[in-house]
Symmetry: C2
Subunit: 246 residues, 2 copies
DNA sequence: GAGTACGAAATCGTATACGATCAGCCTAGC
DNA sequence: GCTAGGCTGATCGTATACGATTTCGTACTC
């Protein structure tokens, strides 16, 4: 890589022939490991050994170590001192907590975004929802989930509070880590979800108050959780410490 | 200084409560730097240089580096590649976002805890609130804040969802990092806060529904933010992107 | 005089090496 | 046959060393 002479003029954002210069090795290691976890290559319980990962990636152990600590902070892996890291397991209780938390923060994010949403935003969201409706015939959980994220992302774009958005994204990440599809795929739920989306859009168009919007958005997420809980046996539900929509 | 910090650091909900047995140097470095930030020794904008910190602490740069990345993840410092870390600044907008987020997650945490709260819990909280009321005469923001955290900690003890509690603790941490006292000390607000605490306890005793409890708890936090906003000039408030209680 | 190009110092990013700690196994004793 | 103790291998924790990148000061040119 040759030395780049500083270009005169205001081109502060230099794009040195690289569309994918993914920053430091720590970040690349983080992305690579995360991808393998989400992709299912590293299943829950898989032992993440620093030396092995470093060898596979062609890096030293230091960036890998940093990547693992970061994944630990985001709950993708569990870490034990002098022992090592393992991929976080699939835990129904954890799924429940995550969904409940999401219902709260998504509800707030939607309510905060509502006053700032434009007709164009709603049109875009409606288009995404139409794609979701069409996909119901040949149902693909992965695609449906992706469209669902896109739908809500459009609604959240105007959210003025980045902290709330960050919490939403953390929840989404965690759901992915928990392989949400294995939990959230409940027959008939997808169709309901599309209908709820349409109702939510109508509510936003009507200029409803923030309270109503929050309630609807929260209930939307909670309904998915309820559908999941309904399929579990009463004993299983018994030691579930909370209800979906309190 | 009554150290009643909620849970130092651990963003992970699976934290094994690693006792107090002077863990790894990374953890000690983390604790030491965090303490200096919160204690005011490192003021916002202070440049955290790896080599210097390592020298002061007697450690190598590696544990210090890890500590800094962890502090970055918790927003105590900002980090820029190949440049370094600086202590996060006091930003009124950031304060606003944090308070708004706290109003939401604290409201949810209180509502989730409400059905499980006992008469004994309420008695303990009432005792703490009494101490707050007494402290009004010789007001000390630090002590008042500590008691306030204790009051709400009692109410949250029964919260079944650890994720929500984690979000609350993150918010509290951030407020500390922002030196909340300089913001939140508004004449008269402390007295109102004590009264609102009493009202909240009465509501809990009455067996009110989760919705009512959530609304009250959220409004309690939002009122502090409103009091802060009310003291700012209209121009300052103009580019504040959200209102406290939406 | 203003702006630009160059260079040196400072700082972070990463690699390698060694020490500390833990889990599992094997052996010896009862 | 069973249990207790030590041993060994594996893995993480930390230190040191070197290379890459940025920043800031300085001299030069228009």
């Amino acid at each position: 890589m040759g030395r780049h002479a500083p270009e005169p003029g205001g081109a502060a954002v230099t794009t040195p022939t690289a569309g994918e210069t993914a920053g430091s090795k720590s970040e690349r290691a983080y992305a690579a490991i995360k991808e393998k976890i989400l992709g299912g290559e590293y299943t829950p319980g898989y032992r993440l050994v620093l030396a092995k990962l470093a060898g596979d990636l062609g890096f030293s152990v230091v960036p890998v170590r940093e990547a693992i600590r970061r994944l630990e902070a985001e709950n993708f892996v569990t870490f034990e001192r002098n022992v090592g890291a393992t991929v976080a397991g699939i835990d129904p209780t954890e799924y429940l907590f995550t969904m409940q938390t999401l219902s709260i923060v998504e509800g707030a994010a939607t309510a905060l975004s509502a006053p700032l949403i434009t007709a164009s935003d709603i049109a875009r969201a409606r288009a995404v929802n139409a794609a979701m409706r069409e996909s119901l015939d040949h149902f693909d959980p992965i695609r449906f989930t992706a469209l669902n994220l896109e739908f809500h992302s459009v609604l959240f774009e105007n959210c003025p509070n980045p902290h709330i958005l960050d919490l939403v994204h953390r929840g989404w990440n965690r759901l992915q880590a928990l392989r949400s599809s294995t939990f959230s795929y409940v027959p008939g739920r997808a169709k309901e979800s599309v209908a709820e989306h349409e109702a939510l859009l109508a509510l936003l168009e009507s200029g409803a108050g923030a309270d109503d919007v929050e309630r609807a958005a929260r209930a939307h997420r909670a309904a998915t959780l309820d559908a999941y809980l309904a399929r579990r046996s009463p004993e299983q539900r018994a030691h579930v410490p909370v209800s979906a929509s309190y």
